[in-house]
Symmetry: C2
Subunit: 205 residues, 2 copies
C-alpha cells in the first residue's frame, strides 16, 4: 500500500493530497488514537514533504477539525434516512462502529476548532435529524418532556457507542452485533410496555 503513495509519485503535485492525508489520519487514529497523530508521519505516508499538509489544513487542529466536520456530515446523512427514533439510535451506534476515528475526534472538542463554520453547519444538520425523530415520537412513548426524552435517547446511544469503542463492553456484548444489542437496549427505554417486557424476541418493526 505504501508503494504507490510513497515512491511512485513522479509529478510535483500530488493530485489529491488533502484526501490522502485525511484517510491516512483516519487510519492512524483508528489504530492508535488521536494522540498518535503526527503531521510529519502523515506527510511521509503520502510521499510528500513534511510541510505539504499544512497548506491544506493549516495545522494539527485544522486537520482534526476537517475530520470532525466530515464525521458530522456522514452522521447527518445517516440519520436523515432513519425510520424512527429507535432506528436513528441503531444508526448512531453503527456509525460509531464503522467510523470509529471520526467518532472519537468528534466528541473531543479540545482537539479541534469547535467554532469552525463548516463543522458547526454539519453538526447542526446532524442535530436536526435527531430532533426530527423525537418530534415524531408518539406522545405516550416519550414521557412528559420531549426534550428529556431526546437527551435520554442520545445519552443511551452515545454511551453505548463510547463504551463499545473504549473496549468496555467486551464482556457483556461478547461477539454479538453491536447494532442488534443496542436495538434491545432501546427497547428498554422507548417502547410500548409489552415491547418493554417482550415474550418473543423477534420484535415488531
Amino acid at each position: 500500500m505504501a508503494e504507490e503513495q510513497q515512491t511512485d509519485r513522479r509529478t510535483y503535485h500530488h493530485g489529491d493530497l488533502r484526501r490522502a492525508v485525511l484517510t491516512a489520519a483516519l487510519d492512524v487514529i483508528r489504530a492508535d488514537g488521536p494522540s498518535a497523530l503526527s503531521l510529519r508521519d502523515l506527510a511521509r505516508r503520502a510521499g510528500v514533504s513534511h510541510a505539504a499538509p499544512a497548506h491544506h489544513f493549516k495545522d494539527r487542529a485544522g486537520l482534526l477539525t476537517a475530520v470532525a466536520a466530515e464525521g458530522y456530515d456522514l452522521l447527518a446523512r445517516t440519520l436523515a434516512d432513519a425510520d424512527d427514533l429507535k432506528d436513528a439510535g441503531v444508526r448512531y451506534v453503527r456509525f460509531a462502529v464503522e467510523h470509529p476515528a471520526h467518532f472519537q475526534v468528534m466528541f473531543q472538542p479540545d482537539l479541534y476548532r469547535p467554532d469552525d463554520p463548516e463543522l458547526t453547519a454539519a453538526r447542526a444538520r446532524a442535530a436536526e435529524g435527531l430532533r426530527g425523530q423525537i418530534a415524531g415520537l408518539p406522545a405516550e412513548g416519550r414521557g412528559p418532556d420531549a426534550r428529556l426524552a431526546g437527551v435520554a435517547a442520545w445519552s443511551l446511544a452515545h454511551g453505548f457507542a463510547t463504551l463499545l469503542l473504549s473496549h468496555n463492553l467486551a464482556g457483556p456484548v461478547g461477539g454479538q452485533d453491536p447494532a442488534e444489542v443496542f436495538r434491545a437496549l432501546a427497547g428498554l427505554l422507548f417502547s410500548t410496555d409489552d415491547e418493554r417486557h417482550p415474550r418473543d424476541p423477534g420484535g415488531p418493526r
Copy 2:
C-alpha cells in the same frame, strides 16, 4: 508566579513530587485536555528539573496510567456507597462532573497502559459496585435480561456524562444541576410503570 512551588523550594528533594505532578496534570487536563499535557511543563510547575517526573511515572503513559487508576479508585469508593442502581447512576454522573480530568482519561485507553495491575484492580472494584446494584434490582424493573439492564444503565449514565463533559448538552440541560437532570433520565429507564407514565394508571407487567 507560583513562588512556593517554583522558587521557594530550598531542599534538594521536593517532598511530595508525585502528588504535585499528579495534581498539576489534572489541572492541565481539566483546562485544555490530555493532549495539552507536557511532562516538562508539569516539571516547571512543580519547580523541579525536566527529568524529575520520569522517576515517579516512567513516561507520559505512566503518568496517565496513574491518573486513570486514581480515577477508578475514586469511582469505586463513590459507587460503593450507592443506595440503588439509580443512585449509582447519579453518583456516576456526579463523579464525572467533579473529576472531569480523571473521567476523560479513564475512558481513553490509548492514552495509558490498560494492563497495569493497580489500574485493573481499581477498575474491577468499580465494576463490582455496579454489578452489585444490578443484582439488587427488582425483577420487574430490569426486564428479561439482567446483563442487558446493566449495559443500559451504564450506557445511559456514561453517555450523559460524556455528552455533558464534551459540552454537547449546554442547550437541553441549561444551567440545571446535571445530577438532578440525570435522575429524571434514569426515571425513564428503570422504574415502575406508573413512574414512567405519571398519569397512565394501567400498569401491565
